[in-house]
Amino acid sequence: MAILEVKNLHKSFGKTEVLKGIDFSLEEGEVLSIIGSSGSGKTTLLRCLNSLEFADRGTITVAGESIFDSSVDLKARSEKTLREKRLYFGLVFQSFNLFPQYSVLENITLAPKLLKKATNEEIEKTALELIDSVGLSEKINNYPCELSGGQQQRVAIARALALKPQILCFDEPTSALDPELTGEVLKVIKSLADKNMTMIVVTHEMSFAHDVSDKVIFMDSGVIAESGSNEILTNPQSQRLKAFLNAFGK
């Protein structure tokens, strides 16, 4: 059974329809890359999955659990169930969004402690392991303003992992970084893929996408114009994907 199933997702902002019926599914442990030109709706899709936006139509199901269903009145569900449904997903933002007033360690332990996910000692132990796994053990007591962009993004990944999401989403995790810093972040994502973390990665890094993905979706103005295995990056079928990849000098 697929861990994630998205069916017929529609989303409009005012009069502009940004998602025009998105369907896909993802198996546990798979990595899905989403590519597509600017404004094609990639971020909006991730935000719908993470309940930062609510679709107008369609359903989202994780491991058999309904995360979103447009036939159910939004207002009927409580803030508490909304928060629980959010925890099926993690989201790593393009702009990191670390909490500036907290140290690296505190950024990671804040939510698990507030949500009482475990005892404080266990939470800190897990956090230290996560920090170690992203290679920042020397920085646990530093503040975000004292870190490079690449280091901040690695903390953001550890922060998302601390809540043990079923599916971790990345929205262009390296776009805000200087080119020489993208490698260290991509390496962390790759190591998660090797540990069979289920992930959805919106990215413009084509060779990385090819390297890490089990599935690739190419979005174009609100629809999935082509999808398949990572083969489609080297052997695109549709004219639109060919043109898109050409523009990337591929």
């Binding site: 993470n50 997903f89 969004n97 939510a111």
Partner: protein
Amino acid sequence: MNTFLIVLEALNVGFLQTLKLFAVTLIGAIPLGLIISFGSMSKFKPLSVLVKTFVWIIRGTPLMLQLLIVYYFPGLVLNNPIWGSGESGRFIAASIAFILNYACYFSEIFRGGIQGVPVGQKEAGQVLGLSKSQIFFKITLLQMIKRIVPPMSNEIITLVKDTSLSRIIALQEVIWAGQSFMKGAQGISGQIWPLFFTGIYYLLFSGILTIIFNKLEKKLSYFKT
């Protein structure tokens, strides 16, 4: 020397009234300013327009005029002198004018502080499953405070000096006390130096506040927003 002590004591009494007006204004204007800032950010258009118009009127007219209107309007226009003629009535009228005026200035600072925190902060909290109040108290509040401390300290130091405007309705604050020795009080008359001397009080007090606010800013400088 005896004269000096008499003057000093009178100025101390006056400055106590200055401090009282200062404190009452802060205590009233900070919560009212928060309410006004929420009103001006309301999604309910009529409310936000009404509140913004009020803020525009208060910020667009002199505090001295507002003092005069609050103090004289009930008696001279409505024939209902609710403030009476004593010092306590003048103090209440001055407090109302100062609280309204400063609440409007504070509300703009609070609004900037609230809106200045990037939405990404709130969204990061949301995707971590935090509740609205956890996001406010654990994530955005301190960032807001850091943003508003510098403009608030400017306003508060301006307030120290603005309290002297209440002289216009004869509130017996420190300027009034200093001036009284020109016309004559307690056997001393024709003296201008007590009025000039009041400057020392303002200098000392605003100096202390500056030090406190600098400390606070420094305390919050360990992070950058």
